[in-house]
Amino acid sequence: MLIRRPADIKPSEITDPAIYHQRREFIKGAAAMSALAALPLRADAAAKLPGVKKSTYTVDEALTPLNDITTYNNFYEFGTDKASPAIQARNFVPRPWTVTVEGLVKRPTTFDMDDLLKLPLEERVYRLRCVEGWSMVIPWIGFPLNEILKRVEPTGSAKFVEFTTLNDPKRMPGQRSPVLDWPYVEGLRLDEAQHPLTLMVVGLYGEVLPNQNGAPLRLAVPWKYGFKSAKSIVRIRLVEKAPISSWMRATPNEYGFFSNVNPDVDHPRWSQAKERRIGEFLKRKTLPFNGYGEQVASMYAGMDLRKFF
């Protein structure tokens, strides 16, 4: 008996070899185009976000230039090279976009991105410390994550919050390679998620969030290493147990759940004592909790931060 199984891939989805064989030319063309286009690395002229108030949650440090923030990115959904998100996310269209907030909540809600933009927006200048040993100072625009959490009302059994990034290899070419276990997942303890510093970001430098920085909606958790701040979020789930993040799954001995910036706990393969602020020559000392200890250290009182790294 002949059992016919439908092919996994529809013929219509297979790239025509003629087109496939032009891929190098296509990439070269794209590279040439981007070189020509030089500075504005977004396809559309960046839209200003209106009515943004300046927040007091702001550090008084020199801002990292916009060009550095938008050309030096870790966003594996658009390639593992730091220069590639700016190129590969160029034509990403972050619309229509909804964020589903569900799990252990009284009112599970799906928010439309355009409605979220109507929330009171504020500008906050935060430090960003990457686990790789570099840092930036970024004027984010957004609203506290707690604004959303309050609306869905977490139940008493909710202890953690899980964030999931869009999983769409057609739009996010980096997901076609199994570098990480897609979709990208991150997590926070509920009190961390509710902390006033935890920001849902919709823009930077006064404008709508560039694609390569996690459009249209990302987290900014300034006292944790950058990878904790999930990008292009489509789902927020309140759960009872600590979620296993993509990086914990990838290399459990190198990445812990908390990932608080800590100069005393090295990455197994490199030191975390210092960092290079992008644009500066000499390295500077890394501060515990990235300099936000006064606001957040109490959440970890009594915990062995070497164990809970």
């Binding site: 060009n67 550095d68 050309t71 030096y72 594996y76 593992t80 730091k82 220069a83 790789e132 570099w134 390679s177 570098v179 990480l180 990838a250 290399t251 090295d266 393969r269 490199w270 030191s271 004592a273 210092k274 290079r276 992008i278 644009g279 020559f281 000499l282 390295k283």
Partner: protein, 207 residues
Amino acid sequence: MAKVALFFVCLIPLGRLIWLAFNGGLGANPIEFVTRSTGTWTLVLLLITLSITPLRRLTGYKALIRVRRMLGLFAFFYVCLHFTTYIWLDQFFELASILKDIKKRPFITVGFACFVLLIPLALTSTNAMMRRLGRRWQQLHRLVYLIGIGGVVHYWWLVKKDITQPALYALVLALLLGYRLVVWAQARKRVAPPSAPTSPTNFAPHK
């Protein structure tokens, strides 16, 4: 003439870095860029140097041997730039933190060891040293196999997650070293049992 041309070709990676530096082309993290670039070219030149012997045997183009030393010395040149970038631009001569890095970070330990092992090879690369050391010269210079492996390991351990690039270097290195292993095994087979048939691939005796 060809040698002079190759000399200038080997300087292109350095020229590119200088050009980029003066044109703001090193990106948001220039020191990382220079460190990566000089490291990459060290590895590339090491692998090219290691490919000379197989290429010479496979093509029969003996003149290739004449450029091997220069390629090896250029690998050493780029590793010197790589090491200088690390101790000067990256660590700014902070000896304590450099020593700690070398001791504690396996990828730096391996990288540093390879750099140190390359020094005697560079020093003994002259004709006079070759004559003076005789047979021992070749024994000493076999260290380059170990250095090649160490170089790839150094790269592999430094990468955060996407190991595509180091894996490519590892593959090329495996081919180059594997070729030597096959040649060596065949030569042994030919020498050992007197009744064994001679191999159809007639390699020139090891010199």
